[in-house]
């Protein structure tokens, strides 16, 4: 009896989370006459909303931009970030303690404080409407460096020593000895970084005005503010949103355990 109650609660909640998404998918295939309806199966499915959305704004280009920007940021955070984390964890050099201290200190600085100075910096560098403006400020990430550094500190000293005796350089030690051991933290940092970059919208809204450079969330936002509120426009906006959602939902379906563990671990350890 009590068991049934749990399932009722869970099913109600699941419906609240899933039904809007399914309704959104259905609506993108509906004709304007059907858009207000509650049904999840369009009577006369149409691709008009997708054709309209694709014709009215460069969503294909934005998809490529998003993949390029989020991909480059993730790669940089993993490769250059783990090089920095490795040196901060395992190498003795002047300035190491200061770098470690700054890394921890800037985690306490709220993003709102630096948003406007960062914007004026980008303007002064002449980077408005460039990929550099979208990528460079995210090329490193203090949280990622702390996670990787913490892991690298636990790798046994003897592994490093024997690699050095074999004549390996530090970069080779990092990528051939440390990386294979660090798959879990690397995957976690990779997912967090990619998702953050893929979903970011405030920063692009500040530094990009050229449609050709816009990433998906920004183009989607600009596009949705441009249209009216009629049924046709609503369905078109939702069709545009699908371009952003589908890759994430596909990745999430296959990797949901890693998504949940990575994203929640930032909170659980706190």
């Amino acid at each position: 009896m009590r068991r049934t109650a749990f399932y009722v609660i869970l099913a109600l909640a699941a419906t609240t989370f899933l039904y809007p998404f399914l309704w959104m998918v259905a609506t993108t295939f509906k004709s304007p006459a059907e858009v207000g309806g509650l049904s999840l199966l369009p009577d006369q499915p149409t691709l008009d909303n997708y054709r309209l959305m694709w014709a009215r704004a460069p969503f294909g280009r934005a998809l490529v931009n998003s993949l390029f920007v989020a991909g480059t940021i993730t790669l940089s955070v993993l490769v250059f970030g783990s090089a920095a984390a490795y040196s901060l964890a395992r190498l003795n050099f002047p300035g190491r303690r200061i770098l470690n201290a700054i890394t921890i200190a800037i985690l306490l600085v709220p993003a709102q404080l630096t948003l406007i100075p960062m914007y004026t910096l980008i303007v002064q560098l002449g980077w408005v409407d460039s990929y550099a403006a979208l990528i460079a400020p995210y090329a490193f990430n203090a949280t990622a460096i702390l996670i990787l550094r913490q892991f690298f500190l636990q790798v046994p000293r003897s592994l490093m020593d024997s690699a050095r005796l074999d004549g390996m350089g530090e970069l080779r030690i990092l990528f051939t000895v440390f990386w294979p051991l660090a798959k879990a933290p690397l995957a976690m940092v990779g997912i967090l970084t990619f998702m953050g970059a893929w979903n970011e919208v405030l920063w692009p809204l500040l530094v990009v005005r050229d449609e050709q450079i816009m990433t998906l969330p920004q183009l989607l936002t600009v596009f949705s503010l441009g249209g009216g509120a009629g049924p046709r426009q609503l369905a078109t906006k939702l069709a545009a949103a699908m371009v952003l959602v589908v890759p994430v939902v596909v990745a999430y379906t296959f990797l949901q355990r890693y998504f949940i563990e990575s994203m929640a671990s930032t909170g659980i350890k706190g």
Binding site: L91, I106, Q112, L113, M118, L121, G270
Partner: protein
């Protein structure tokens, strides 16, 4: 040894350069900007404390603060109650446990821009899903986003829907640390399930609750894309958020000095609110 120092400097120098340019310089320059009047086109001029003075008397800024407090007053309790309920329901052997968990977490991984556009469709007065459901019950239509009294609560509900899955996972991790023996002991004394939850589980979950309150409060002060897409800050500025106002000062009005002042005020405000919350929640148990 010298080789190691050289490699260390080499491997960390890109990061050091990054910190200098994109962390330390902006932090320092934020304090300079507060004293400037600058439109990014003409040369900046020294403005003394004009920006701070303007902020103190700026009705829009205070309206944005009040709006944020309205948001938090609805969002925080709702978030805690829903997250606790779902975590509590999940904290036992169940069929499809991974499915439930993944479903609740789904909106967390979806971009805020998408969630907001989806909810603009759910909240739409004429063709929206929610008013469609209400019409089945012969209710409504409710002007969710155009009634000044309803718009911010509507955004608070949306934000709860978007984020609650994250907090379910946090509470779930906390619940799994509550020893069964605690419940058994108190239930032997004749306590009901509710009493056992209220007096054993809830106090033990205080660290998680503090985390939920902290992160949700930070989120609340960072509202941007939600009012930007849904309402533009209206109706009657009742959904204007501090970050949206800051964005407009920088992007639309070209007032860099004032925008930076808003950023500094917001950062200080968040710090103060978090300290107060920590005190209040910290002392709740002793009372």
């Amino acid at each position: 040894m010298r080789a190691e120092a050289r490699s260390g400097l080499l491997l960390s120098s890109p990061y050091a350069a990054f910190l200098l340019l994109f962390a330390l310089y902006p932090i320092g320059f934020s304090l300079v900007l507060v004293l400037l009047k600058w439109d990014l086109v003409t040369a900046p001029s020294f403005a003394g404390l004009d920006n701070v003075q303007h902020l103190v008397g700026d009705a829009r800024f205070w309206q944005a603060i009040v709006n944020t407090l309205v948001f938090l007053a609805i969002h925080l309790p709702l978030q805690i109650i829903v997250a606790l309920t779902l975590a509590w329901a999940l904290d036992r052997p169940l069929l499809f446990r991974a499915f439930w968990r993944a479903t609740f977490f789904l909106p967390v991984v979806i971009s805020g821009a998408v969630v907001t556009i989806l909810w603009s469709a759910l909240y739409a007065t004429d063709v929206g899903l929610i008013n469609g459901l209400l019409a089945r019950l012969d209710l409504g239509p409710v002007p969710w986003l155009t009634d000044p009294a309803i718009a911010m609560p509507a955004i608070a509900v949306m934000a709860t829907w978007k984020n609650v899955g994250f907090y379910v996972i946090i509470y779930l991790a906390g619940l799994q640390n509550v020893p069964r023996s605690c419940h058994e002991a108190i239930e032997l004394e004749g306590a009901t399930a509710w009493q056992s939850f209220r007096h054993v589980t809830l106090p033990l979950l205080k660290p998680q609750t503090l985390l939920v309150v902290t992160l949700s409060t930070i989120n609340g002060f960072q509202l941007f894309i939600e009012p930007y897409i849904l309402t533009g800050g209206g109706p009657l500025r009742r959904t204007l958020s501090v970050v949206l106002y800051m964005y407009r000062n920088a992007f639309s009005y070209q007032k860099m000095g004032y925008a930076a002042t808003l950023g500094l005020a917001l950062a200080l405000l968040i710090a103060v609110v978090l300290v107060v919350q920590r005190r209040v929640i910290g002392s709740a148990e002793e009372a």
